[in-house]
């Protein structure tokens, strides 16, 4: 039988606020342990939470960007469980009446083409501290810097049908959240964390079978590998006639395998109830409308606009709309007068090639435009321009022309010098000249190459071609 996986994702995203969800402590990552703490985020007796308006704003922005219905009234709830890094013994979250519901995320599945994944809910919550089991031998150390950092949890419906789709969903989600500047989505620093649910069913069926939860994945590729492993495990178990048990599986990135969590570690009753320390979160229609209106252009809209307005191929539009920064960069190059398709080529092939990580843009748009101007003005060759660009990264103050000159890449269009190289070349290759004159005109390319070599690449190829044609016609 052919099996189809049914996958849903729960994504926790840290919001880009300066301070924590319910107190004024810094939410910065990487500070010395237990330095960004106060009575509120340490859960000291008598301390009370007060919501961070900026966190609410970012959560609402994310919800709108994901097409959610944002509820003007939502309720904070307590999720109760004991753990040393959970200072109050409960996490303030949302449960019965979340901030937002019913969103969607659209992207292209490698297997199914364009698909829409429904987003069930998006809610606000606070992070716990961090436990370290390996810092002090035989002890657990706890850092509360992360305690109370604002998060949103985004829960998808089980609309994904392959591990690759799960990965594509995450890539698209990350892109949207970065666009609206809600999170930096840095998985290594833990600002984006993913848990997955997976069940299998006969391909084509619409039933939902027992699912397992998969945890401990720390990269998008890890999610894909973990889900592949869990899918294979469930298929193998089902083929053996075993029942799938609702459980939590932990992914081990080193071995690429999943193993069940000890049942003692799960089976929690969180005893959710409305948080009595916080009144319902009430957002006015006016405030919500302003947040919605303030949303930037989203990736899908930008992609379509680039295709239409600049007549770019879909692939180019997708690359150039990958981030707001890159899209803005491209449009500044076009605004400077570069033809849209040329600008696309320069940005994609030359600029991104210089980027150490494929994202960071090494040069300001005006600098790239300077170099493009050198090529269109016949000052340097297209090939040489790439070297000029590379050199400019390390010399941010030097004019492109000065850099080209320093590298000896300026093209020579002086006819005297070119005529000299042409004459020398023709004298050095009498046989080829004879064959050319006998009608073997494709030898022109060979001869141009020889002249260029003699000029050490500095001659303007167009001028060389013209001079050769003229000399051979004599």
């Amino acid at each position: 039988m052919s099996w189809e996986p049914v996958v849903g994702l729960e994504v926790h995203v840290q919001l880009l606020t300066a301070t924590k969800m319910f107190c004024g402590c810094s939410s910065r990552f990487g500070d010395p342990p237990n330095t960004n703490v106060c009575p509120v985020c340490l859960g000291l007796p008598g301390a009370l939470p007060v919501p961070n308006e900026q966190a609410v704003r970012l959560a609402v922005r994310a919800a709108f960007a994901l097409g959610c219905t944002v509820h003007p009234r939502s309720i904070f709830a307590r999720k109760n469980y004991f753990y040393p890094d959970l200072p109050k013994g409960y996490q303030i979250s949302q449960f019965e009446e979340p901030l937002a519901t019913d969103g969607k995320l659209e992207f292209v599945s490698a297997e199914r083409g364009p698909i829409t994944v429904r987003i069930k809910r998006l809610h606000l919550e606070e992070d716990a501290g961090k436990s370290f089991h390996d810092r002090v031998p035989g002890m657990t150390a706890v850092d509360f810097n992360r305690s109370g950092v604002p998060l949103i949890e985004i829960v998808s419906e089980p609309d994904l049908r392959s591990p690759a789709e799960a990965r594509a969903y995450l890539t698209t989600l990350k892109q949207v959240l970065e666009y609206v500047e809600v999170s930096d989505c840095n998985m290594e620093e833990g600002s984006l964390r993913v848990d997955a649910n997976l069940s299998i069913r006969p391909a084509g069926s619409s039933e939902l079978r027992t699912r397992t939860e998969v945890k401990n994945m720390n990269s998008f590729s890890g999610v894909e590998r973990a889900l592949t492993a869990e899918r294979e495990r469930q298929i193998a178990a089902t083929d053996r006639g075993e029942e799938i048990i609702q459980s939590t599986m932990l992914f081990d990135a080193a071995s690429g395998e999943v193993r069940p969590m000890r049942s003692k570690e799960e089976a929690q009753d969180y005893r959710y109830f409305p948080e009595p320390d916080l009144p319902p979160l009430v957002l006015t229609g006016k405030w919500l409308a302003a947040e919605r209106a303030g949303l930037p252009e989203l990736p899908a809209a930008k992609r379509e606009r680039f295709q239409e307005r600049y007549a770019l191929p879909a692939a180019d539009a997708a690359v150039l709309s990958a981030s707001r920064e890159l899209g803005d960069y491209y449009e500044r190059v076009v605004k400077a007068g570069v033809l849209p398709k040329d600008a696309a080529n320069w940005v994609m092939n030359d600029l991104l090639a210089l980027s150490p990580d494929g994202e960071t843009l090494a040069l300001a748009p005006a600098r790239l435009v300077e170099v493009i101007g050198l090529v269109s003005g016949g000052k340097v060759s297209r090939q040489a321009a790439r070297r000029v660009l590379g050199e400019m990264v390390g010399a941010p103050k030097d004019a492109a022309l000065a850099v080209a000159e320093r590298l000896g890449l300026l093209q020579v269009s002086d006819t005297g010098a070119i005529d000299g190289w042409v004459r020398e070349t023709l004298e050095a290759h009498p046989a080829e000249v004879a064959r050319y004159k006998a009608g073997e005109t494709k030898l022109m390319g060979f001869l141009v190459g020889r002249v260029m070599k003699r000029s050490k690449g500095k001659a303007d190829p167009k001028a060389v071609s013209a001079a050769l044609t003229e000399a051979l016609a004599r």
Binding site: L44, A47, V50, F82, G89, P276, D277
Partner: protein, 464 residues
């Protein structure tokens, strides 16, 4: 020696006398701390409304000079690095913290018998409890150690001891006083309240500590209540509602006699006394004992020995075992009982039947009050307690009997409305308290009515 320092030394003498009689109103106090505060006050030239006044602070309220133990072993020696907003405000008004007043552990109890540090005694009759949970605060005022004290209420914990000790206790509207620094018991019910030797003393302290606080998201956006006015000459035009559910057949005869006398005085003062009904009153105690323990079970989860307080690890490696040992040793029987009860009513499969249903009944109780106050009733008058102060040990073996001593007071906490208790007479030497309840934010109204009644009734006279 400045006037402030002299007054502080006098206050220390009164505290010493109170404690020398075995009242045990205080868990911590010292003359040195009083004098130090007075010197600071003198140096800064304070002229606040309570300048130089020594105020007792219930031990569930965070304060930095003394430990904040909440009457519990689990917070033995805990010094709060911050002070409650109410404490900060009383200091800003020039008051001195006299000491930390004894209370039932985490304010769970009605007699101070559940304090891990031993009970307080009722200054009127040392064989009897002072009430609770703010029993230390009430005893300190009744013994004359201080003229005012901070207490806290979740289900009558200021008014009931005020009634037992023959003093005044005010439970303000939910949100009137910041809860920041009040160690949480039942967050949706908790309010800091004030106790005083008379209505004006309790009202003056409330006037100082009330008002919006940005550190408490549930605090009302109102300016402080300020100083109370003078007692009105009469109560012409005032309608006093008498809810019949609070005067059942079989009501304690002394309580009934004292109440009847107070109602007669209201009429003498020109008020109209009207029979009213609060039909859901009978559900108040069961509702309270679902909502309060539910919230408490969550609020008390933080006492795990990880960050503060004694840790009973005994070399145990498993974190669960450390929790069990720490919490098992640290919490007393009543606190454990309520944590278990609260955990149960919030558990999967029981939530709807208990917690959710209790919230609905709570709404009905709230609606009862709203309906009565919408009918031009200015205040309700009821007994504060079903009996005068009981003896030590009378109810400790029977939690339900102990819970029922809060039957007339827990309704105001469930509804969020303000209420106060003032002494209205003595029965066989024991004080009897009368309760006034107002609509939301009606503190000023019941304070005014209480001032008038206070002048018209001889609270030290036997009622039968």
């Amino acid at each position: 020696m400045t006037d402030f320092v002299r007054a502080a030394r006098e206050a220390a003498k009164r505290l010493a006398a109170c404690e020398a009689k075995g009242t045990h109103a205080f868990l911590a106090w010292s003359e040195a701390a009083l004098v130090e505060q007075a010197e600071r006050l003198a140096k800064n030239g304070a002229s606040g409304p309570l300048a130089g006044e020594a105020v007792a602070v219930k031990d569930v309220i965070a304060e930095s000079q003394f430990p904040t133990t909440c009457g519990s072993k689990i917070l033995e020696g805990w010094r709060s690095p911050f002070e409650a907003t109410a404490v900060r405000r009383l200091r800003e008004a020039g008051a001195l913290v006299a000491g930390k007043a004894n209370c039932d552990e985490f304010a769970m109890g009605s007699s101070t018998e559940w304090s891990a540090y031993g009970p307080s005694r009722n200054p009127v009759d040392p064989t009897r409890v002072p009430g609770g949970s703010s029993g230390g605060s009430a005893a300190a005022v009744a013994a004359g150690a201080v003229t005012m004290a901070l207490g806290s209420e979740t289900g009558g914990s200021v008014r009931q001891p005020a009634a037992f000790c023959g003093i005044v206790g005010i439970k303000p509207t939910y949100g009137r006083v910041s809860r920041y620094g009040l160690v949480a018991f039942g967050s949706s019910l908790d309010q800091i309240g004030t106790l005083g030797k008379d209505v004006t003393s309790a009202a003056r302290l409330l006037g100082v500590i009330s008002g919006r606080d940005d550190r408490d998201a549930t605090s009302l956006d109102r300016i402080p209540l300020g100083e109370p006015g003078p007692a009105p000459a009469n109560l012409e035009g005032t309608v006093i509602g008498v809810p019949r559910e609070y005067f059942p057949e079989g009501l304690h005869a002394g309580i009934r006699a004292a109440s009847d006398r107070a109602l007669a005085r209201f009429k003498d003062l020109g008020a109209e006394v009207r029979d009213v009904s609060l039909p859901h009153t009978k559900y108040a105690v069961p509702t309270y004992y679902i909502v309060a323990p539910a919230e408490a079970s969550s609020n008390l989860a933080r006492y795990d020995g990880v960050r503060y307080g004694p840790r009973a690890d005994g070399g145990l490696k498993d974190v669960r075992a450390v929790y069990r040992a720490t919490r098992g040793h640290g919490f007393g029987p009543e606190v454990r009982r309520r944590i278990l009860l609260g955990t149960y009513v919030l558990s999967a499969g029981y939530y709807d039947a208990y917690y959710r249903k209790a919230q609905r009944v709570r709404e009905a109780i709230r609606a009862d009050f709203a309906r009565v106050f919408a009918q031009d009733v200015h205040a309700l008058f009821t007994p504060t307690t079903p009996t005068p102060a009981f003896k030590f040990g009378e109810h400790t073996a029977d939690p339900l009997a102990m819970y029922l001593s809060d039957v007339y007071v827990c309704t105001a906490n469930l509804a969020g409305v303000p209420a106060l208790s003032l002494p209205i007479g003595r029965d066989q030497g024991l004080p009897v308290g009368g309760q006034l309840i107002a609509a939301m934010e009606g503190e000023a109204r019941i304070i005014r009515i209480a001032q008038a009644l206070e002048r018209a009734v001889d609270a030290t006279a036997e009622v039968r």
